[in-house]
């Protein structure tokens, strides 16, 4: 059974000049124990999608979906309160800029303690504070912080970004979630720290069978850690498949261009030659093209592309293009 099954999720932003379709019919499925990468340029709606799954978008945003199932439960049929309860119980999220996501006036220990749910504790209320503290220290050890006492009494600004991200992961782990959404967890971090955070996430995935939705703008960086990848462009679904499928035989012109633009994937490219890039830049939200939003930049675009393509599935490799590159392989 799928852990998370989202079909045709759209997110609208209400502004004074009408509504803007920020995310246009994106589908996403997650299996248990899977690490899925969600890749796209900045502004392609990845973070908004993640926040819509968590239900923490404010009232300016409106979310529609044809299907939104969590472990077989239809969340759309449930009232808002219950949906929030189920999601916050089983899904946790970590953000980019971890330092900004921790309350600056509360110690790390207190913030961790309030994340430990009551159902994990036993006994009378006077025994609970001690149990909470013990649980917090265990969590800190789990994310690789050995000096737990010093960290417990610190304020967020006294720690480094990488430490704050570890604390955020510890907070996320407190409820033993089935799915962890990691929204660019290593943005603005040094590469050694990036490696540490990714290794930590990978070990959590292997040891606890925790599914991870890894959001990133960097395709080649996430490929080491993911089983499957979903690619988005400008709020539209582009392509989804296993990491190998995406890397070896991308069906969508955008994915192909993304791979061609990376120096690591093109080892045979002669030195000092130009990398392949698409002309133009990602459209702004106020001036989105109709149909396939890649249209104006796409090397394979034809007249038909002014109508949005339907997703086609080739043995689990989904692609959203009228003129997919499938036949060229």
């Amino acid at each position: 059974m799928n852990l998370l099954d989202i079909r045709n999720l759209s997110i609208e932003l209400k502004t004074k000049n009408g509504t803007i379709l920020a995310v246009d019919r994106v589908s996403l499925t997650m299996k248990e124990g899977e690490v899925r990468g969600l890749v796209g340029e900045s502004g392609s709606g990845k973070s908004i999608l993640a926040q819509a799954i968590m239900g923490i978008l404010d009232e300016r945003w409106k979310v529609h979906a044809d299907r939104f199932h969590w472990r077989g439960i239809d969340l759309l049929a449930l009232p808002w309160q219950e949906r929030k309860k189920i999601i916050t119980q089983d899904v946790a999220m970590i953000f980019q800029e971890p330092m900004a996501c921790l309350d600056p006036t509360t110690t790390i220990g207190e913030q961790l303690e309030e994340a430990v749910p009551n159902c994990q504790l036993s006994g009378y209320f006077w025994q609970r504070s001690k149990q909470r503290k013990l649980a917090v220290i265990n969590l800190l050890h789990k994310v690789g912080i050995k000096n737990h006492l010093k960290c417990y009494h610190s304020y967020p600004h006294q720690l480094t970004e990488a430490f704050c991200q570890r604390v955020m992961i510890a907070i996320a782990l407190a409820r033993q979630p089935l799915l962890l959404i990691a929204d660019e967890p290593t943005a603005a971090m040094e590469s050694t720290n990036q490696g540490q955070i990714f290794r930590l996430l990978a070990s959590l995935n292997q040891l606890k069978n925790m599914s991870i939705l890894l959001i990133s703008h960097d395709l080649e960086n996430v490929t080491h850690w993911t089983n499957t990848i979903t690619v988005m462009y400008s709020g539209q679904f582009v392509e989804a498949g296993t990491t190998k499928q995406i890397f070896k035989s991308p069906y969508h012109p955008y994915t192909k261009a993304l791979l061609d633009s990376s120096p690591k994937a093109n080892v045979e490219l002669p030195p000092k030659s130009r990398l392949m890039t698409l002309p133009g830049s990602i459209p702004v939200l106020q001036h989105l093209p109709i149909g396939c939003r890649l249209g104006p930049r796409c090397p394979r675009a034809q007249k038909k592309c002014v109508q949005a393509p339907k997703t086609t599935n080739y043995h689990g490799h989904q692609v959203n293009c009228h003129y997919s590159l499938k036949d060229t392989y």
Binding site: Q89, C101, P104, T105, A115, C151, L159
Partner: protein
Amino acid sequence: MLQFTFRRLSLFFFTMLLLSLLSFSLSYFFPGDAIINLSGQVNASQEELALLSQQYAMHESFFSQYWHYLLRIFQGDMGISMASQLPISDEIANLLPATIELSIISLILAMSLGIPLGFIAAIFHKRAIDNIILSFAIVGYSIPVFWLGLFLILIFSIQLAWLPSAGNISLLFEIPHVTGFLFIDILLSNSEYKWQAFYNALAHIILPASVIAIAPATVFIRLARSAMMEVLATSYIKAAKTKGLTNAQIIYRHAIRNALIKMIRHIGLQFSHLITFAMITEVIFNWPGIGRWLIESIYQRDYTAIQSGLLVLSSFIFIVHIITDFIYATLNPLARENKHGS
């Protein structure tokens, strides 16, 4: 923290220097003889004036005059009042506590009314409650203090006869002067009518305190509302939502403290406005405070009282500013600097 303290103290020193310089220069800017303006001896004979100018070093340079002026202020000698011929330092010592008492009670009233209302408005942003509170804030801010004071006297003292309209305690009670703060003095006294006196003083302070509090409270409503809305839009509130905390828990544990820290400095800045309102209100309610005394001395052209009163009142306001700065530094962990924990 040590550096912070040192910086505040040096700021205090230089501001006091400038204030005293201004106060000293006023004796030359005011009409009349500088020595009479400084000392307040309006009825002195020619010989007495010569002796005074000897004492005040009036024939030496301005710097030396200023130095002697400072020395006298540190000895507690501010001259005598031109109108009453009483030492100004005694008058101020009698009157300042009443003003401090009134302004602190008004500040507490304004804070306990304004801050919760502002938070409620921010939490129910763009709903009916928000609009009601905001319109109350705008109406309250635009009502003139003297009009409100007279209006409340008309309703509560004259029409309904619930509350007294003048003074800070009924003349029936005789309270020995110990600290100057009326409520403390009442509690210290061992009169058998202690509690009657206390309730009487309480009834006297209600009207003036609420008149003073209304304008700062509306400012606090708007400050608290914007601070809370800013905090509620931050990413740590968003992250706290993903932890599965309820809205009440998020507001109580994370939002209120951060919003309050943002506000403390503004509260200190509002204090000078509050003193201005207090001065006007003291005149209306015949409150025996320094504000009424200062305004009366302006009417009577009592230049000695004006310059000393200004010096005392402005240093009081400045001391309050410094105290709020210290409270801010102790409450906000970001102001404490050393990094550890890695």
